[in-house]
Assembly symmetry: C2
Homo-oligomer: 136 residues x 2
DNA sequence: CTTAATGCAAAAACTTTGCACCGCT
DNA sequence: AGCGGTGCAAAGTTTTTGCATTAAG
């Protein structure tokens, strides 16, 4: 089996994910990490993001618009996407709720449930404020 | 403003969505509708699926793997994707739960919440059975 | 030295779009 | 007739992949 080998690029990507709350797309990660590794390729970014997600060290957030987004916060939580500015926000829900939902789902499904992802759609405060000021 | 005009192609697509439970991808819809309209194009299928989704006559299910899927059942409900065979199943949850979740989320979010989509990950009975029979 | 990871570029997968023509109203 | 829808093909977007080279163990 393939043993994972350290790479400075992957470390940098993980470091970035762990310190940002903006839920970047692969391309945003690429643009950022490129400041430290000017020769890094987008392919490498994708490979490492997928690796991190597979290892459980990052979460891949599938969104309807644009590309997937990545989150270094692996603690179970939900997300809100603002349908106005497209930004993604964390939403912390009582942790017990996550398990409760999985169990509830399993009762209604002929099979086993491992996990779930919930994406809320709404409008963030910034966008609400901008709309209000435009209605003058 | 653009008035919506009837089209046999769109009617056929909607008819198909309303009578299947397989949550087809755009391509699957294309392959199916092509039996009735051999000259229909994939572009037309995409245009109509997006139209139906915008009109609230279908739901677009964003999945992590492959393309988006479509559901003619617009009644609020959740979905389970089998991580083994990639099929998508309906999951009927108490309707009140949907609103409760939106309100709950709004309490924890600085903005407004309109809706949410939840996708469960699990293994369907068919795949569980196949795994068991392989472990002989 | 051995093998995983990278950079690069090409390709794959999915979706949208411009345009001339067709069909609904 | 007027305008929206279609078919077709081309292009756009996002993600993956083959391969020679580089770097980690």
């Amino acid at each position: 089996m393939a043993t994972l080998k350290y790479s400075r690029q992957r470390a940098s990507i993980k470091e970035y994910l762990d310190h940002t709350t903006e839920h970047p797309t692969a391309d945003t990660v690429y643009l950022h990490v490129r400041e430290e590794f000017p020769r890094i390729s987008l392919g490498t970014v994708y490979r490492n993001l997928n690796l991190l997600a597979d290892m459980g060290e990052a979460i891949k957030i599938t969104t309807p618009d644009g590309g997937d987004r990545f989150d270094g916060n692996t603690h179970p939580h939900y997300h809100v996407v603002c349908t106005c500015c497209n930004r993604v926000f964390d939403l912390h829900i009582d942790e017990a709720h996550i398990n409760t939902m999985n169990k509830l789902a399993e009762e209604h499904f002929d099979g086993t449930i491992d996990s779930h992802a919930t994406l809320f759609y709404g409008t963030c405060q910034d966008c609400l404020t901008q709309k209000t000021s435009r209605e003058s």
